[in-house]
Symmetry: C2
């Protein structure tokens, strides 16, 4: 067995030399398989779950890939097995991030799906991703033939609605610093995994403002 001794390594902004005892905080983000993803939305009967599972299909795309494009009607939704993504709207000369999705979450353009109109959001993969793809045509067929799946879809939309309403309320009535602290508390992985420019946009402030807030918290 061979040991590689480093004279010093940089870890979480601290320089730690090789004589220190290092307690590693493992940043391992576990994969989430399709069965667990479906279950967390709503526990389906075996038969229904099987039908839903049979229509999904594992696909992989690299970091940077745009999996869902503004200005078109999308024909698939995706469940995230591994990786992290952002939804953003094209602005004049920058872009505006309004949602992040990580393992277990669902990528869908609601506007496009529900209203059969062009969606307004792009979805970009911020890491290499493994996704379960589900065709909206298959999903519609299942919604119309299986009451459990219909209620599973209802629960999904209801839960997303609560999350979105809570973010709206937070943005309406809290200041930028409070919103950042809330994010730090409730979603620390996002801040670890996503660059601060996107985080700032998600909080509805500029990157410079976020940097100032972070400096004040030190």
């Amino acid at each position: 067995m061979q040991f590689y001794l480093l004279s010093s390594i940089k870890f979480n902004n601290f320089i730690v030399n090789n004589k220190s005892i290092i307690i590693f905080k493992i940043h391992q983000f576990l994969k989430m398989d399709i069965s667990a993803i479906l279950d967390q939305i709503f526990q389906l009967p075996q038969e229904s779950k099987k039908n839903l599972l049979l229509t999904t299909n594992l696909v992989c795309y690299p970091k940077g890939h745009i999996i869902l494009k503004a200005g078109k009607v999308e024909s698939s939704i995706y469940f995230i097995k591994k990786g992290i993504v952002r939804a953003y709207i094209d602005e004049d000369n920058s872009d505006a991030t309004f949602w992040f999705g990580k393992e277990g979450e669902t990528i869908i353009s609601m506007k496009s799906y529900v209203e059969n109109q062009n969606g307004y959001e792009n979805i970009e993969l911020l890491e290499d991703c493994e996704l379960y793809e589900l065709k909206t045509a298959d999903l519609d067929r299942l919604f119309n033939s299986d009451i459990h799946i219909a209620n599973w879809g209802r629960k999904f939309a209801e839960r997303e609605l609560i999350k979105t309403e809570e973010r709206l309320i937070s943005k309406l009535f809290k200041n930028a610093s409070e919103r950042y602290i809330d994010l730090l508390k409730n979603n620390p992985e996002l801040i670890q995994r996503i660059q601060l420019g996107h985080i700032a946009s998600y909080l509805g402030i500029t990157q410079v403002s976020l940097s100032r807030i972070r400096a004040e918290l030190k």
Copy 2:
């Protein structure tokens, strides 16, 4: 037939005497019956619609009534036949309005309904209201027994989600003036029917800021 002649009446901030030709802008907000309300969410088959109709019950409450209270699990939802309401969160010494409902819309505490937890919002009637009440227990029974109603409920949540997400994006990336102009364009009745303090809160600004914005637009 008898005529009542008024020497002058006050109308839309203008004093108009009885010799003037008055072009009335009728502020008549039509009642919306339950059948039309259900249809606008999703066209149900006759049989399903009948089942849903049979479980609703018309109730009336006066302006100022709090029909849904924070800190409890609610057992009913309501469809608005006539009137206008606001959802708000109690703050230290004021309150924060984050949603308005008018004819055709649905009053529900999603948090309370979906998670069976205490809701965070109060809902106050801003006018005398006529509402169709629907017990959540009945609704659950229908969701689990009628696939069309389950999909109707899914569509409802999906549509609400889109509206809420659009408001979030608007609050994240537009300034107060733009948001006010959007509201003026897309929901002029709200500004006519609701006092500006509540409108300001809904836009996520103070009443004083809204007043300033209105002055600039003159």
